[in-house]
Symmetry: none
Subunit: 324 residues, 5 copies
């Protein structure tokens, strides 16, 4: 039974943080209490509150891929309120979106769901091979909109990666000083990488590690394949025989590569899949590999609302250990 | 039953804001979503979460009156952790304290209880007749410590009042831009007022109105007596026959004087009372007069812990309407 | 025929500025187009739109005199919305109030009525002989709240006058750079003046002139008596025989003293008068003496709503020349 | 024989922090790793390194009382190098002095002894009753001089106390951001207090509490007498019967008043005492009462060098528990 | 016997700086006492404390080469705590790493080991021929994390070298003003150089000299071969017959090229070598050539922990002169 459903006035966190939340917070001991507070808010919100697991709803695809590609299949998604309400109804830990989508509905949903402001964005009207997203919002926007974190995308492998790293450093420094958490989308991409290499295990692990070294509190990467891209890395993987046959093993490797599991790593749902079960299997693999959860956009908002709610409930049950 | 007690992972605000919380937030529509978010956090936390009623634990008496006067009767209160844990265990909406007390325990209780940073403080080692508190913290401290609001004391009636008003203006402007709520302690005091006048009905109503005009989101005043202090005001009260015989009537007048009930007004518990019932009667009067709740320091932490928890539970039941 | 009174839909500025509005704007040709735009908004709003005449509703008495003295006689006035709605229904040119009253209702009445933010305020809980109001808002507040002007009070004659003049200079400089108009309440007061002297003709004219010299666009003074306060001035008035027998003559002198009528000078209504006719006679004198209008607070909101609307309509008709 | 000349290279902290140092650091968990590093440096330096006990050499008496009063009895002390060498030879945890004394010898003793820069100072050429020290150095000076902490004096009870508190807030905020620790000398003084009251138990406890609330990491107060100064406090001390007969009991009370022992509180040695044993007895009382150590200026540098070294060695043995 | 092992409470630097440390510090007499203090801290820490010799543990390979290439062979190294503990247990002078690795464990190891924050980093997901690392941290990060120095990589020979030199200048200027030491990794690389030329003697000497000219306090270069790359330089080397047959001779030349031995020059261990003896021989050559020590990453953390500790102990004994 969710909080606040009884006749008794519901109360927020009257029990305090769970042991698991405290353990995760202990990994961030260089951070100030403000950052820890917002990390706790993320971990205490929604259906998975207190478990240290995450299901986050991101909706930046309108900007990144275009509105019709993103919303025409379920037109309710054109409306910014739809996603706040979806994240709330489904019991997500947070909702992440660019400036405009947050501005459009943050006031009427004040305090209902932790918000992550996506600070940089890229569109495909000009789709360069070595992309550099535009920085489309500031830390001060995150504060005035009541967000708990900033979100920032880097493309390791792009010829423009250095610029993104430096933009991230600047944004992260300011965000941390203001007590905001830093969520980094680390998506390998660019002329140095093959298409297959973008999700190669070695590349995914490397991308997650870079984000952690840059000071990210929460790192989002794509689910890796068993491909190995970089010749020097391949030698090591094969010599040491890093397990990578199953998705759970690959998730485990990425988590290990991210400070031996001492940073929160979550995985993206990727393009819409027709099969719910395929996504559920991914969630099981993330859970079994020690991953911290999923960030599921298209697979949420491109399904009809009732279907999406049922779908997200199943994923959360998988993370909560209520379903095997 | 409080949130998070079932086997199911507890979830934060999965139902969203109640109608009452939405109504109260609608009074603050000039404010940005960040301020609304933090007001919602205050209203959604603790045992009274969602009701729009408040019981806040303030512990600035160590600074204001001295540590032994404040804590010797229940020495557990010398420890900064004690108050965080008390506020959490009792299900208060928030805990308010000066910089040092917040710094000492905010990290280990990150996210467990909304925090209000008391930004100015006064001590009685030099107890002037027209006091001016020192500004002992900044808005940036509130952000780095994960607070939802700043707290600021003004003394209308003091020859130094203008300075306090201007300090408040500056702090409030910065706080609001950062999405923090502004809580004002408005305590009439100074050479212009008689001792009796400090809690006179006309003076209390005036002090609450000034705080609201200065842009406070939440206003804390002392419970007023039926005394009338200012001759020009007295004429009007008597001519119009403002009801003031009962405490509930006087609370109703103060609430009316504060933008006709469109600002949150809460009332201080004052010095420790030996009788629990006396405080319960005050809470009933505040509730029946349309007040929004209590801020109860000495009557909480100067009682032994178990007694205090029981005592606060009763007060919350009164505000929740579970007790007449 | 005044703007907005006919059956023809009043429609913002579909006809452009009237000749009179253009003439008045021509006096402010050192100001930037932003300031002129906001002066034009003031002159084009309401029932008197286009005539160059003003009836402004100010409600700062809650702060200045206390809430009960101000609103108990007509308790609807405790509610900040009441005054926005009154100013709109009556067809006033503008509504002026301190920060809190503006914040409380500006969003829901966005764009309905030009707003003047009273930037400094004084209360009578500590009522010193040489008062210095507190600066309770900033130009940035006026911008974020959508105001057309700042309002600032000076007390020529106070030992603190220099401080006020310098605060005004700073505020006016910033306001003008941002395209906001500057409205100055110039109220002689302080230990240097006799009680009678506060409204003496020489003093009133002097106070209006100082405000104009300080860069005010619109100047508000009290209606002067025929008393002369300053000995050196008295000599001149008597030698030159400045006409001052009638109120219209005295108004004419004040207007003359204010850059020979090249600044907008309006007159305050003073404390509530039981007789409507007394106020109407004052309006006639202001009109006949070349004054630009009235700022009427207590005589508006201390009357019952329907009475107040009728009362204000009559005053506007006097200014519009529809009544003799 | 200099360090490092033996066959075994000496090593700094090759064993890491002791459990006691870790425990003390855990009280400062809102602080960044830089502050914790400098607190650890203070606790790991000198003969008492690792014990969590402190003996600090302060030499600001030249400024505060005049050079001859301070140094004529042992003229070696006129030389700034003397004190660095004394602190080092005696194995003190730190040396504290104003800007000039630090500048004069910091380079040649780089890294040999942790330094505390006294940021404000007061002289007696003008000895006002409500003193306000001058701020004579900045945080940037502490960084360029290689200091581990800033030192700041407040005089609770002075009419100027608010100013000092606000200066301290500003300095402490900057110091903490730069990773420097904040040491506060809290010396009650001013027209509100009797001479006896300056060291009264209630006043000393209050002064220590204020410093902690202002965010001090280390607090230095004078040893309290059993006098009680403030009437309201006296009532409580007598009612609750706070033990205060012995110096150890009084130290225990001050430590309790400072966040229940969760802040480092050290005690000043006061004017030079002819009897070594009197100082040793004080050290025993500080140790037995749970105090964290002594800051001993005049009793160190006004004794001849060899005497002083022997004297300090005995005090350190008392704190280390090597002497009863 | 290491400090702190006796019954006597261990004391940090109670003996002061050794003559050798004082001599080395004398080379930096243009620097402020803060820089000298942090240089002294580096020279006084660990097993080699006081000797003026260095063994530093750097762990930036996760960023520079990828996590699996760096840590898969000894997976304990994925954990950021592992390296702090290794540096401490081995008695290294310092630990150097990028922002994320420092942030992850600096608080729990506060003060235990001098830290060097690697301020710029490069990854090989996009491995351009003329690389420009990203600046991934700031001097303010070094301060808040309690570091003694910043570390900065330059690639002389890269088409982007000028940019790096200017970034270094800016970082070094700020670091020195704050009392932080500046450690420069000077690695020739880029399209202007042959692969062999990157470690050519003339190039290595040149790279070390450039770093010194840019104001580095400590310079890290690769061990040079006897290859000579630049034709103009080659002529001189051969004409003057600079000794370069042995590694010790080549080290001696690099040290000479770096201000005739008046700057600290240390040498990198390079890729993991299977033979411990090969590394020991290099250390002997560095020692015999007058080098100041080694910075050993992969050869430390890619060995199993016990092996690595034994391995580092041997190297330190070589530098300390305890082994020939």
């Amino acid at each position: 039974m969710a909080a606040g459903t009884s006749a008794t006035p519901r109360g927020g966190f009257t029990k305090g943080n769970t042991d698991r939340v405290k353990e995760i917070l202990s990994w961030y001991e260089s951070d100030n209490p403000g950052v820890k507070t917002n990390l706790a808010r993320l971990m205490n919100a929604g259906r998975l509150g207190g478990t240290g697991k995450f299901v986050i709803l991101p909706v930046d695809q309108g900007f990144e891929h275009g509105p019709a590609r993103s919303f025409a299949v379920n037109p309710a998604g054109y409306n910014p309120n739809y996603h706040f309400e979806m994240a709330l109804a489904a019991g997500c830990n947070a909702y992440a979106a660019p400036l405009g989508f947050i501005e459009a509905a943050a006031a009427r949903h004040a305090g209902e769901i932790p918000l992550i402001l996506k600070m940089n964005n890229h569109d495909v009207l000009h789709d360069e091979k070595d992309p550099l997203p535009a920085v489309t919002a500031r830390v001060s926007d995150a504060l005035r909109l009541g967000c708990v974190a900033i979100g920032f995308t880097i493309y390791p492998g792009s010829a423009e990666a250095q610029t993104m790293y430096e933009q991230l450093r600047e944004a992260a420094e300011e965000a941390k000083a203001c007590g905001l958490a830093v969520v980094v989308w680390s998506y390998p991409r660019g002329t140095s990488l093959s298409k297959e290499g973008e999700t190669a295990l070695d590349v995914a692990a490397y991308a997650a590690h870079i984000a952690a070294e840059l000071g990210a509190h929460i790192i989002k990467v794509k689910l890796p394949t068993d491909h190995l891209e970089l010749p020097e890395a391949k030698k090591v993987y094969e010599k040491v025989n890093v397990p990578r046959a199953t998705l759970a093993e690959r998730v485990r490797h990425v988590v290990q590569a991210t400070f031996d599991g001492h940073r929160i790593v979550i995985f993206s749902g990727g393009p819409k899949k027709d099969s719910d079960d395929a996504v559920f299997d991914e969630a099981r693999a993330i859970r079994d590999g020690g991953g911290f959860g999923s960030i599921i956009g298209r697979n949420s908002f491109q399904r009809p609302r009732e279907h999406a709610l049922k779908f997200l409930e199943t994923i959360m049950k998988i993370y909560a250990g209520e379903l095997t």
